[in-house]
């Protein structure tokens, strides 16, 4: 009774880390630009496929290939920003959120269908020589691949925090979040800040996708699920707190895992969604966030 629960807990934490990573990407973009890019999940999916094809066609180890997955999404992010999102920078906050959400919606649809046409609807996963390795400790199995993925997620998020707190550019980003007019009057190029944040968000999605491809599986329509998860975790964790977002990711991961154990896999997806609806109604600023004045 206890052992499966702990095992489930572990699995929940391991995937929760990826939930947190994906959500931070979305949160970064939304926090800075107020773009609600609901095609975030599709970007993640594309990152996964990049990793997958690099491995399948060129034998690139999925972890080694991560920087390439990130790069691919960074490039895509630049393209999408310059073609589409840059036109919405000047809108009022409310219109911006609404319009970018709609655009993201359409974009997600397009990306999903392109992926479907190119790569079929089959589930794909990366199986390496070490994919089945497991570390046994305290009677619990820790799949090596997922463990490494979790570690990578944590390291990247810590690096991101450091970047935002310590570097000049990071501070400029934070300043822009707080007051973009005041920031621009100090010589900070808001367009550059927006572009950077958007691209970083895409890169994080790509990274998360690559990690999902190796530890789990990917398919073209996974985008919606991951967008919803990212949204859920983002709202749960509250904007402006990456630590909170990461913890929220773990919470959701654990909740899903335990539900799957106790109620059966069918209801796994629902838990996160129901949690989300509950939080939206009761506490829109999330568990860690600050109430907007």
């Amino acid at each position: 009774m206890l052992a499966p629960t702990i095992q489930s807990l572990v699995f929940g934490i391991l995937i929760g880390g990826l939930f947190g990573l994906a959500a931070v990407g979305l949160s970064l973009v939304f926090g800075v630009t107020k773009f609600l890019n609901v095609s975030h999940g599709e970007l993640l999916m594309l990152g996964g496929y990049t990793s997958f094809w690099l491995f399948t066609l060129y034998r690139v180890d999925p972890f080694v290939g991560l920087p390439l997955a990130i790069l691919a999404l960074v490039v895509l992010g630049v393209v999408l920003y310059k073609l589409i999102f840059t036109r919405m920078v000047k809108l009022s906050d409310e219109t911006k959120i609404k319009n970018t959400m709609l655009v993201g919606f359409g974009l997600g649809l397009v990306l999903q269908n392109v992926a479907l046409r190119l790569w079929t609807a089959d589930d794909r996963g990366i199986t390496t020589s070490y994919s089945s390795h497991v570390i046994q400790a305290f009677g619990v199995r820790f799949p090596v691949v997922r463990l490494i993925s979790f570690a990578i997620a944590v390291v990247v998020l810590l690096a991101l925090q450091l970047f935002l707190k310590r570097t000049y550019t990071g501070k400029a980003i934070r300043a822009t979040v707080q007051d973009w007019e005041a920031a621009t009057l100090l010589g900070i190029d808001i367009h550059k800040v927006y572009l950077l944040s958007f691209v970083m968000g895409a890169g994080l999605a790509g990274l998360a996708g690559g990690l999902v491809a190796v530890g789990y599986s990917i398919k073209p329509d996974m985008g919606l699920e991951w967008t919803l998860i990212s949204l859920i975790v983002m709202v749960l964790g509250g904007l402006g707190s990456f630590v909170g977002t990461f913890v929220a990711g773990l919470v959701v991961g654990i909740a899903q895992s335990l539900t799957s154990l106790w109620l059966g896999g069918a209801y796994r997806e629902m838990v996160a969604l129901l949690l989300f609806l509950l939080v939206l109604v009761l506490r829109p600023q999330g568990l860690f966030g600050v109430k907007e004045g």
Binding site: K171, R174, Q178, D179, T184, L185, L186, G187, I188
Partner: protein, 233 residues
């Protein structure tokens, strides 16, 4: 040094400024006074690039500024302190100031500028590692001005620096502004507090309902109804 000619500007369908023309010479301390809603803030925003005029031109040393984005205008040497200061409350005093030195030129002069700001506003040096959100109103205004100074401006534009401050603080701030001007920075001051503004400057423009209705110094401005009522009221 700075010239506005025939500026028309507004927001959406609302025309706020009508045919604004004014001039600020290098080293001057000029005020723009007028009642609430006259278009003072909009005028500043046109100069700093936050608002695009629908007609007219802004020139700095003869060079047209009107099409430039705000951050470029800052690099050219014009710095605006927004109404209410608008400091970054989540960052420390020092971080706020450092962000003023964002541009390449400003970054080189960072140390000097920092020393200068701390000399002008010793209170800021005392609180340099405190989060800006914990500062008092007066200190925030000082921080906002100090931050603008970090951009090494040739022209400093202040939007209602006295707003919401106790008279003693207003006096203090205005003294600092005079000092800054003496150090060679041209100043354009927007104020509702006409009395304080006129005491500080020799030359002022009066703006009413989006139009410049007068220009002059001290006594000659008293002939304007709005000035008179503000001065005496």
């Amino acid at each position: 040094m700075l010239e506005l000619e025939g500026i028309f500007a507004g927001y959406k369908d609302l025309t706020v400024l009508r045919d604004i023309s004014l001039r600020v010479g290098a080293g001057e301390l000029v005020a723009l006074v007028g009642p609430n809603g006259a278009g003072k803030t909009t005028t500043l925003k046109v100069i700093s690039g936050l608002v695009r005029p629908t007609a007219g031109e802004v020139r700095l040393d003869g060079r047209p500024l009107t099409k430039e984005p705000p951050h470029r205008i800052v690099q050219m040497g014009i710095s605006q302190v927004l109404e209410g200061g608008r400091v970054f409350t989540g960052l420390t005093v020092l971080e706020n100031l450092e962000l003023g030195a964002f541009g390449a030129a400003a970054r080189k002069a960072k140390h000097e500028n920092l020393k200068r700001v701390f000399t002008l506003f010793p209170r800021l040096e005392e609180r340099k590692h405190q989060r800006a959100g914990t500062l008092s109103g007066g200190e925030r205004q000082m921080l906002a001005i100090g931050r603008a100074l970090m951009t090494t401006p040739r022209l400093l534009m202040l939007d209602e620096p006295s707003f919401g401050l106790a008279p003693i603080l207003v006096e203090q701030i205005f003294r600092m502004i005079a000092e800054i001007n003496k150090q060679g920075v041209t100043v354009l001051l927007v104020e509702q507090n006409v009395r304080a503004a006129l005491e500080l400057t020799q030359r002022a423009y009066v703006i009413e309902n989006g139009r410049i209705v007068g220009e002059g110094s001290g006594d000659s401005l008293l002939s304007f109804e709005s000035v008179r009522s503000a001065y005496l009221g």
